[in-house]
Subunit: 341 residues, 3 copies
Amino acid sequence: MADKRFFKRAGPFSLGELARLSGARLLRPQEEGRLCHDVAPLELAEPEALSFLDKRKYLGAFARSRAGAVVVAPELAESAPPGMALLLHDAPYRAYALIAQAFYPEPPVAPRRAASASLDPSASVPEDCAVAEGAVIEREARIGHRSSLGANTVVGAGVEIGDDCRIGANVTLSHAILGARVVIHPGARIGQAGFGFAPDRSLPSKLPQLGRVIIGDDVEIGANTTIDRGAGGDTVIGSGSMIDNLVQIGHNVVLGRCCVLCGQVGISGSTILGDFVMIGGKGGLADHLSIGSGARIAANAGVMRDVPAGATVAGSPAFPIKEFMRQTALLQRLAGTKDAR
Amino acid sequence: MADKRFFKRAGPFSLGELARLSGARLLRPQEEGRLCHDVAPLELAEPEALSFLDKRKYLGAFARSRAGAVVVAPELAESAPPGMALLLHDAPYRAYALIAQAFYPEPPVAPRRAASASLDPSASVPEDCAVAEGAVIEREARIGHRSSLGANTVVGAGVEIGDDCRIGANVTLSHAILGARVVIHPGARIGQAGFGFAPDRSLPSKLPQLGRVIIGDDVEIGANTTIDRGAGGDTVIGSGSMIDNLVQIGHNVVLGRCCVLCGQVGISGSTILGDFVMIGGKGGLADHLSIGSGARIAANAGVMRDVPAGATVAGSPAFPIKEFMRQTALLQRLAGTKDAR
Amino acid sequence: MADKRFFKRAGPFSLGELARLSGARLLRPQEEGRLCHDVAPLELAEPEALSFLDKRKYLGAFARSRAGAVVVAPELAESAPPGMALLLHDAPYRAYALIAQAFYPEPPVAPRRAASASLDPSASVPEDCAVAEGAVIEREARIGHRSSLGANTVVGAGVEIGDDCRIGANVTLSHAILGARVVIHPGARIGQAGFGFAPDRSLPSKLPQLGRVIIGDDVEIGANTTIDRGAGGDTVIGSGSMIDNLVQIGHNVVLGRCCVLCGQVGISGSTILGDFVMIGGKGGLADHLSIGSGARIAANAGVMRDVPAGATVAGSPAFPIKEFMRQTALLQRLAGTKDAR
C-alpha cells in the first residue's frame, strides 16, 4: 500500500460502490458487498486490494496476481485466477483511475498564508487560498478561489490564476492567464520572453515579446517545463492538455484541447496544433507548422512539415509512420542486418 | 495591442521618426508625418499599427493585412494593399525590432531591496540595483550597477555580475563571472559542478570541478537552461550569444561571439564553437569537438565530428546537409515511398 | 590555478604522498620528495602542478605540457618531455581525480540555520546540518547528519534525507527517501506526480501517483533534472548512479547500481535498468523496457525494445551498434556521398 507518510487513504469501499463510481459492471453481482481496502498494480496488490488489467501483454501478471479484485475488459476476464472478483469495463485503466481517486482523493486546499510569503497589497488573493513559505505574488496579480501556491513560487505582476489551481513549489509565472483546475508541477517556467531577435553581425536586435500565455481549464504542466509568452499575439494551451516534464513550448505556439505532450518534447515558435494531438517523448516540431487534430507524432520524431489531421508520423525528418517503417526495414535488409538480429 | 496589464506602450511616433530610428526609408516621403501608435504582426495589426514582412511566404498575409504601415524589403513592396504606408529596409525584421523597442522600451530598473532578500554583508550591491523578494546574495558576490535580481534567485559566493544585467526569478548562479547587459531567464542554472568522474566498478571517483563560467556582454540565457562550470579551465559564453530554453552546456565548452542555440540543444564537455555558430532545436554535439565559425547545425542533428567553418550539417550522425538530403531522398525512393506522399 | 574566490586549495603534497593516496607508482622513486602545489589540465598546468594523460589522442598536448608531474599509463610514459615527473597508473584519470580531491577537498558542512529558512516544528533537522536562506522543510521531514540544503530549496512533508547529503539551491523534493552522500544540483525536481492518466474524449482521468522516489547512497543528480515518483510502487535510483543535467526519469523507472545518464537523457515510465548501464546524451528509452546490466546506449539513440546485458545500441530506432554503423555506411555509399566527404 502507499506509504502513509505521503498518502492518506480513504475507504474501505464495497465492490458495489466501486463499480458504481467507475461505471464498471460486477461479473458476479453477489460480490457487491465485498469490501476493498486499497488499489495497487497487479504485481503488488494484496488480496484486500483492487487492481486493473488494460493490456493483453500483462495477462501473465494478471494470472499470477494476488489482487482481490481487478477491473478488466470483458474479453480478458476468463484468464482471471480463481477467487478474484472482476469488474468489467471497456476502458479498465480509466475505471481504475476513478477508483484510485476515491481511495486517494486529492486533499482539499487548507487555507493559509505563510508568514514568509510576500503578497503585494494590490494583488487579489482570496482567503481560501494556500500560499506557502517564500511565495511571492506581485502587483495586480489575481488568484482564484481555493488555489494553492507552492513554496518559493513567484507569480508575476498582473498574472491571473483561476479557481482550484495547484501550483507547485519553485514555479515562475509571468504574463499569463490561467483557467480553473490547472496543475503546475515544480520548477515550470511560464510566460518569460521567447527567443525572438534579428541576427546581426554586430549584435542581435531583440524583438520585444508582447504577448501572453493563455492556459485553459484542467491543464497539467510538468516539472521544469518552459512555456514562452507570445511575441505578438499569445501562446495558447488548450483546455485538458497534459504536458509532461522538461517540455519546451515556443512563443505563439497554440495547442488545441486535450493535447498530450510527453517528456522533453519541443515545439518551435508559431506552430499550431489542433485538438487531441499526441507527441511522444523528445518529439520536436519546427516553427510555423500546422498539426491537424488527432495527429500522432512518434517519440524522437523531427517534424519539418505540416501533419494532416489524424495522421501518424515518425522519424527525423518525420514521415508517415508506414513509410518510416518501410524505410527502416529496407535499410536493415540492404545492410544485411535483418537476419542477424 | 499588447495587454496593458503586462506592457506599457510609448508613442505615438511619426513614420518619419520610425524610419530614422530603424534606418528604413519611407517609400512615400510625404507620409512622414503620419502617426503610428503600435506594432503588431500582419494578421493582428490594426490601421494605427505598424507591422513587417520578412519572408515571401507571408505575402498573402501582407496583402490581406489591415496594418497602417509595414516595414518591407524593397523587392516585395509592390504586393502591398492600397493605402498602406511602406518603410523600405533590406532587413525588415531587424528594423521592426528597433521600432518595437521604441514602442515598448524595457522599463528602467527601479532600485529596491526587498525586505525578505538576504544580502551577505561582504557582498557588493550598488544602491541602484533591484533585489526582489527572497533573493539571496552570498559572501563576496559583486553586482554591477542597475542590475536586477528576480525573486528567490540565488547568487553564490564570489559571483560577479556586470552592469545592467537582468536576472530572472528562481535562478541559481555560482562560480560565474558575467559581463554587462546579460539577460538570464527564470530557472537557469549557471556554474554548478559538471559531470566529471572516473567510472569504477565500486563507486565513481569524482573529479573536483575547479573552473568557472565566464559570460560575455549582451548574452541571453533561456529559462531552465543549465551551464556547468569548467573542470579545469573555464566554460565560456561569448558576447552576444543567444541561448534558448532547456539548453545543456557541459564543462569547458567555449562559445564564440554571437552564437545562437535553440531550445533543448545539448553541448558535451570541452567542445569549442567559433563565432556566429547556429544550432537548431535539440541539436546535440559530442565532446571535445571543434565547430568552426559560421557553421550551422540543423535541428535534431547529432554531431560526432568536427564541423568546418561555414559548413551546414544535419542528421544523426550528422553529415553535410546536401549529403543528408541525398541520403534521405534515396531512402525514400528505394523504399518506394516517394510517390505515395 | 583555480580562482581563489571560488576554491580553496590544500597542499603542497610531495609526489610520494600523491602516489600513495592515488595508488600510482613513481617512475623515478628518487623524485618522491619533490613538492607539487596544484592540479591542472595538460594545456594549463604550470611546472608546480600535476596533470594527467588518459587518452592517446592527447599525446601531443602531453609532449608540449609544462606540467611538473603527470599521471600516465605505463605504456605512454615514454612520450613525456624531459624533466617531467611521472606517476604510473593503469587508470590515470581515476588516480588524478583522487589527487585533485586531496588538493581541493569538499569543504565540510558548516552547521547553520538561516533566519529566513522555515522548519516545521515536526521536522527532524540535526544541529550539524546547514540550512540556507529561504529553505523550507515541511512537516515530518527528516534530514540526516551533516547534510546541507541550499537556499530556497523545498523539502516536502515526510521526505527523508540521509547523512552527508548536499542538496543545492532551488531544489524541490517530495515523496522521496534519499540515502547517504547524495548530491543534488540546483533546480532538480524529485518526487512530483508522474505523467499518468487515462485519455478520454472529454477530459483525461488522472491516476493518483501513489509511489515514492527511492535514491540510494552516493548518487549524483544534475541541475534541472526531473525524477517523478512511482505511480504504484516506487521509482528507484541505485547507489552510485550519476545523472547529468536536464534528464527526465518517469514514474516507476528503476536504475541499478552505478548507472551513468548523460545530459538530456529521457527514460519513460516503468523501464528497468540493470547495473552499470551507460546512456549517452539525449538518449531516449520507451516505457516498460528492460535494459540489461552493462548495456551501453549511444547518444541520441531512441530505444524501443529491450537491450540485453552488455550490448551496445545506437540509432533511432536503436540497433546493435555494428548494425547501426553498417546501415549508416551503406546509406552513405548508395547515396554516392562517401567519397565526397
